[in-house]
């Protein structure tokens, strides 16, 4: 049997198997009973829904803001750390220069003083 014919047969069988069934004569009265019992729709649920919507929106905005602030704080901390490191390196470099200068000065003085001592 070709695939098309098989499909057509299956579709026919599906239509037969899935034909609508009735929930019974008591269904409509049961629905109407629930309608009578339920309070009439008021504006309040819609307002409550809107309020819940705004609350969700507010919460979502707060979370986004908190994440942004935390990120900003972290970036600043990193920048401060980098600046402190840079300053420390600069201070070490200056100290190194000064020590070199002092060392050279001491060496120069000792060089100048040596002949007098050796002649004595």
């Amino acid at each position: 049997m070709s695939e098309n014919r098989e499909n057509e047969q299956l579709e026919r069988r599906l239509r037969a198997a899935l034909r609508a069934v009735d929930p019974g004569a008591g269904f409509a009265p049961r629905v109407m009973a629930r309608i009578v019992v339920e309070p009439a729709p008021s504006v309040r649920p819609a307002r409550a829904g809107a309020a819940a919507g705004w609350l969700t929106l507010g919460l979502a905005a707060s979370v986004v803001l908190a994440v942004l602030l935390a990120h900003e704080w972290q970036v600043r901390r990193l920048e401060q750390g980098r600046e402190a490191r840079r300053q420390l390196i600069e201070a070490l470099r200056v100290t190194d220069d000064k020590l070199n200068l002092a060392y050279r000065a001491v060496n120069a003085r000792e060089g100048a003083a040596l002949p007098e001592h050796s002649g004595a």
Binding site: E6, N7, L10, E11, R13, L14, R15, A16, A17, L18, R19, A20, V21, D22, P23, G24, F27, A28, P29, R30, V31, M32, R34, I35, E38, P41
Partner: protein, 183 residues
């Protein structure tokens, strides 16, 4: 739905909108088969289906002013039923494995040509994933075309077509397996 029914449905809708309970009851009677059957085949449980179908009509009662015509009413009922059913299955997936419904056969007015085959087909449809099952039900129970199914389920048309193609292939394969096992 025939033109006569639509006309009657339109009149009933107008009367129901005017607040006549008898007109709303008639609307419920007119659509209860479709709504209940969709719910039953989606949830595979008579009590859950009855409850869902009642809730759909309660929602209709609250939102009747949003329905503009008899055709719109049928579309609205199918849409709400399917979305509520899929929602329930998402929240309570155990309904998926509920015992096979044989209420359908019991309440059915016409005698099936091949009861065993039809029961097997219903079981196989019940085993499809919810979205694919919804597409198959709207196609073969409600006789909607793929465009109408896409609108009802708010699903891309290509997804509907692919669900139909894959579901038919799967059903055919599983039916053949059953036939092979029996021979």
């Amino acid at each position: 739905m025939s033109g006569d029914q639509e006309c009657t449905g339109g009149d009933l809708l107008t009367q129901a909108l005017a607040g006549e309970p008898a007109a709303f009851t008639a609307l419920v009677r007119q659509h209860q088969r479709a709504v209940y059957s969709l719910a039953l085949r989606m949830l595979s449980d008579h009590h859950a289906a009855e409850d869902l179908a009642q809730e759909v009509f309660l929602q209709l009662h609250r939102n009747l002013c949003a329905v503009s015509s008899a055709a719109h009413l049928a579309f609205w009922l199918r849409k709400v039923t399917m979305h509520r059913a899929i929602d329930r299955l998402r929240r309570a997936p155990r309904l998926e494995s509920a015992a096979p419904e044989e209420v359908a056969a019991a309440v059915s007015e016409t005698q099936p040509a091949d009861p065993l085959l039809e029961r097997r087909l219903r079981t196989l449809v019940r085993e499809l994933p919810p979205a694919a099952r919804a597409v198959v039900l709207l196609r073969y129970q409600e006789d909607l075309d793929p465009v109408e199914i896409a609108r009802t389920l708010r699903m891309p048309l290509n997804t509907v077509k692919s669900h139909l193609r894959r579901s038919l292939a799967q059903l055919r394969e599983r039916l053949n397996e059953t036939a092979d096992a029996l021979t």
